[in-house]
């Protein structure tokens, strides 16, 4: 029987269904797992995504032909039955379930298993073949409870405030920034300043009904305003640009799963690193593979080789796929 998913120059192709999943070149019909830049690229003829992620996708792909389905709502595409299921990665992120003549493939997209107040939790889906990410596919990466990390962020902010320094926290524009704002809202009601790129996406989340801390755009602050004691969220790309000058001697930190490794923080000369990720950690990756019941696993990105080898040692058929997905970009 022909493969349901193959890697072509355009991306993950489902030939029997006549579409691609998160293609990196323009195609006629794209199915989106989520709207991060390495998964949602412009130029395709039509896009299908989860209803919960429609506005996020619209924000990222202005002018694109977007169509949404509810999680679990069945679509027939060519020879294939398709449903989307929550992936717990960011607002509206989805796993793609494909079924043809009783054979089920699931493309996980990016996913995490810990609770996130900004999006629906990951839903385990049974599959014969699982196409999974492995961004953190070595045992080094095991997340602390989210509450512990959030309290660390609060304590850092508090310590900086006591010293009269701004706290600049670098984070993803889509997903992690809003998750941090939502998590912090459980512990404080202080206002947080946002870089413009994050502010735009935060408006989309707020419109979707996600509860977050009050925010203000840095650009809207009065000229010469003193940011001492304030928390600022910014993309890592803002680091080292003139935009940062207004924060003077700010303490700089990064929220990323890679901050689990000390060297990753030190070479970026960051004062603090918070190991907070929207990806599955090592136990969650292994647990997820087991829950799907898949006997064959294709690994798309991250630590693909050691993860696939581990699965093989556990008796599964596992191979690496060569894709252009990046997982958690290493700034």
């Amino acid at each position: 029987m022909a493969e349901l998913i193959t890697v072509t120059p355009e991306g993950l192709s489902c030939a029997p269904g006549g579409f691609h999943i998160d293609p990196w070149l323009p195609v006629a019909r794209a199915v989106l797992t989520h709207a991060h830049a390495d998964h949602a690229r412009p130029g395709s003829g039509a896009y299908l995504c989860a209803r919960a992620g429609l506005e996020v996708a619209r924000h990222r792909l202005p002018g694109a032909r977007l169509e949404a389905v509810e999680y679990g709502e069945r679509r027939r595409l060519g020879d294939v039955d398709l449903t989307l299921h929550p992936a717990g990665h960011v607002l509206g992120s989805a796993q793609v379930r494909l079924e043809r003549r009783g054979e089920v493939w699931v493309v996980s997209g990016d996913y995490k298993r810990v609770a996130d107040p900004t999006c629906a939790p990951f839903e385990p889906v049974r599959a014969h073949v699982l196409v999974t990410e492995a961004t953190f596919g070595v045992p080094v990466f095991r997340w602390d409870p989210t509450d512990a990390v959030v309290k660390d962020i609060l304590a850092w902010w508090e310590a900086c405030r006591a010293l009269g320094r701004p706290s600049v926290l670098f984070t993803h524009v889509l997903g992690k920034a809003q998750r941090i704002l939502a998590e912090l809202a459980r512990w404080t009601s202080s206002r947080v300043f946002l870089h413009g790129a994050i502010a735009g996406m935060t408006d989309v989340y707020r419109a979707a009904g996600v509860t977050m801390l009050p925010t203000e755009r840095v650009a809207d602050a009065a000229r010469g305003r003193d940011f001492a004691g304030e928390l600022v969220l910014a993309p890592i790309t803002a680091r080292g640009t003139p935009w940062m000058r207004r924060f003077g001697d700010a303490s700089q930190a990064l929220a990323s799963g890679f901050m689990r490794v000390r060297g990753e923080r030190r070479r970026r000369t960051l004062e603090r690193g918070f190991a907070l990720s929207d990806h599955a950690d090592w136990p969650a990756l292994l647990g997820t593979v087991a829950e799907t019941g898949a006997s064959r696993v294709l690994v798309t990105h991250g630590y693909t080789a050691p993860f696939a080898r581990t699965l093989r040692e556990r008796g599964l058929e596992a191979t690496e796929l060569s894709t252009q997905f990046e997982g958690e970009p290493q700034a």
């Binding site: 080094v140 060297g263 004062e271 050691p306």
Partner: protein, 541 residues
């Protein structure tokens, strides 16, 4: 331990020198003296020798976690630090919560005693030490066990903080920390205490280190104000004669006298209360022998008559640091130098003063420097005649004017992940040269690229991997790098038959295709040109 963990965090989270010194000074002021002594000991890079075999820590980790060996290597490649790798892999979810056993108790009662246990007892004890620790505690304990507690503070910074706390000049504190000592509350009090403590007679002075001269020496002013001497290629050392005893220290603060009995014998002719700074060399009748010969002596615990004959040692003295039991470092170099010459005149053929190069102008000196390679020296040292003997690497009075390195264009073949702040990045490279249509590895190098270039190259490596050997990647052989190195010698351990000294990357030759990289023969020709050692002939250049 909690206080020490906080100090570690504070040092680890800032790049500001001032903030580091502040954190250190606060710790030295507030910590119990016994803890402070141990902190001082580990922060100045001292380690417990022969404590345990680090490989065993890996074995026990595998046993506790069930993670296979190959995966442990992958993890190490990601983390780049063994102590940290273990601490992130072990299960710390059962941590008992912060306990506060003092650092000195950890060291003296828990860690040091491991040394006298056999393998099985060590295993039991370490597993017991590990259990119940938080990840941060586990990390620090492993750092203490592996003896690799570097946290981005140099000894100079530690000394500066101590000097601040003690209200003493930094050189005084520095000297009190030289040599070998056992951490204790008394010792710490002695380091901070007023006046001259009853000093150990073996204690050396901190070495003064030269800075590389990048510009034109003429910018240093009048040639007559400078002493010029060869930059000898040996082991920097300090020879101490006090109370009828002789001590020879290396710059790494190790006592190396027993490897050089002829030097101890020569120094026995010195009067008491004398300390000399100089270079330990392998030296023939009238000229230096290659560094490789000296290495043969360092590597041995026992010296055979044959080795003594093949690599006879000499001590070439640069400076006089103490005379008549009095610290002479504040005297101007011109005065120290003439006293040194008078002291060593006719004393012993294996103990002599480094030749002063008499060329009266910078131009003439530059011409003389061109003889460096033929003379097997690394270039010329320039020292201001009016300067005191300082400590550490302070710019301005001592310069090393090294000869230009050898260079060759080589092809990148393999990449290995780095350590520490370069963890999870490909930063260690193996380079190859052409030989009969094939690329033969000749050198490993890691330093020389900027952080930006490292990041670019890391990305390139990930995208152009041909094969993986665990964490090592074989890459498409297309990238050419200009390598610099200091010397070449024949080696039976390398496939190429040649080993290069201090190889480093000078430039990423993005302009050059791999086919135009150099050949092994070209490297061999350089070797022939430079090393009379290979056949014992005279230098052709």
């Amino acid at each position: 331990m909690k206080r020490f963990a906080e100090l570690y965090e504070a040092l680890d989270s800032t790049t500001s020198t001032l903030a580091k010194v502040d954190a250190l000074a606060r710790y030295f002021r507030e910590a119990p003296p016994a803890d402070a002594a141990w902190a001082l000991w580990v922060l100045t890079g001292r380690r417990l020798k022969r404590l345990l075999n680090v490989r065993q820590l890996v074995d026990w980790t595998r046993e506790l976690t069930g993670i296979p060996d190959w995966m442990l290597s992958e993890c190490y490649a990601v983390v780049g630090d063994l102590a940290e790798t273990i601490s992130v892999l072990l299960d710390t979810s059962q941590a008992a919560g912060p306990s506060d056993v003092p650092l000195s108790v950890w060291m003296a009662e828990r860690i040091v005693p491991l040394r006298s246990l056999d393998g099985a007892a060590q295993r039991e004890r370490v597993l017991q030490l590990w259990s119940g620790l938080s990840r941060q505690e586990l990390f620090l304990v492993n750092k203490l066990l592996t003896g690799e507690l570097r946290v981005g503070v140099s000894e100079t910074l530690v000394i500066r903080a101590l000097a601040q706390v003690a209200g003493l000049p930094a050189p005084v504190v520095a000297q009190r920390l030289m040599g070998e000592w056992t951490p204790s509350a008394e010792l710490f009090a002695g380091v901070l205490g007023p006046g001259q403590a009853a000093d150990d007679i073996s204690r050396p002075y901190p070495f003064f280190l030269a800075s590389p001269l990048e510009g034109d020496p003429a910018e240093l002013g009048d040639r007559a104000e400078w002493l010029a001497e060869w930059k000898w290629d040996g082991i920097r050392g300090q020879l101490i004669r006090r109370a009828g005893r002789t001590f020879l220290w290396s710059r790494g603060e190790e006592l190396i006298g027993e490897r050089f009995p002829e030097l101890l014998e020569a120094a026995a002719r010195l009067p008491d209360g004398v300390v000399l700074d100089g270079e330990v060399m392998a030296y023939g009748e009238a000229e230096p022998l290659p560094f490789a010969r000296l290495q043969r002596r360092i590597g041995r615990k026992t010296l055979t008559p044959r080795i003594l004959e093949e690599a006879p040692a000499a001590f070439i003295a640069y400076d006089l640091l103490e005379q008549g039991g009095a610290d002479a470092r504040e005297l101007p170099l011109s005065e120290r130098r003439s006293r040194l010459e008078a002291l060593l005149l006719g004393l012993h053929p294996r103990l002599f003063v480094s030749e002063s190069l008499g060329e009266p102008t910078w131009e003439a000196l530059a011409a003389r420097r061109a003889e460096s390679r033929a003379r097997q020296v690394e270039g010329v040292m320039l020292k201001r005649l009016s300067s005191p003997y300082r400590s550490g690497r302070r710019r301005g009075d001592w310069w090393k004017w090294k000869i230009d390195p050898f260079q060759i264009d080589a092809v990148l073949l393999y990449a290995h992940p780095g350590n520490g702040r370069r963890a999870n990045l490909f930063t260690d490279y193996t380079f190859a040269l052409w030989h009969q249509g094939e690329l033969v590895p000749v050198a490993k190098a890691y330093s020389g690229l900027s952080d930006r270039e490292i990041a670019d190259l890391d990305r390139w490596i990930r995208a152009h991997t041909r094969e993986r050997f665990g964490p090592v990647r074989a890459v498409e052989p297309s990238q050419v790098f200009e390598l610099h190195f200091e010397g070449i010698r024949a080696s039976t351990r390398h496939k190429s038959g040649i080993a290069v000294r201090f190889p480093r990357i000078a430039r990423w030759r993005t302009d050059k295709p791999a086919a135009e990289a150099d050949t092994l023969d070209a490297l061999r020709r350089l070797a022939l040109g430079a090393e009379p050692e290979t056949e014992g002939g005279a230098p052709p250049r």
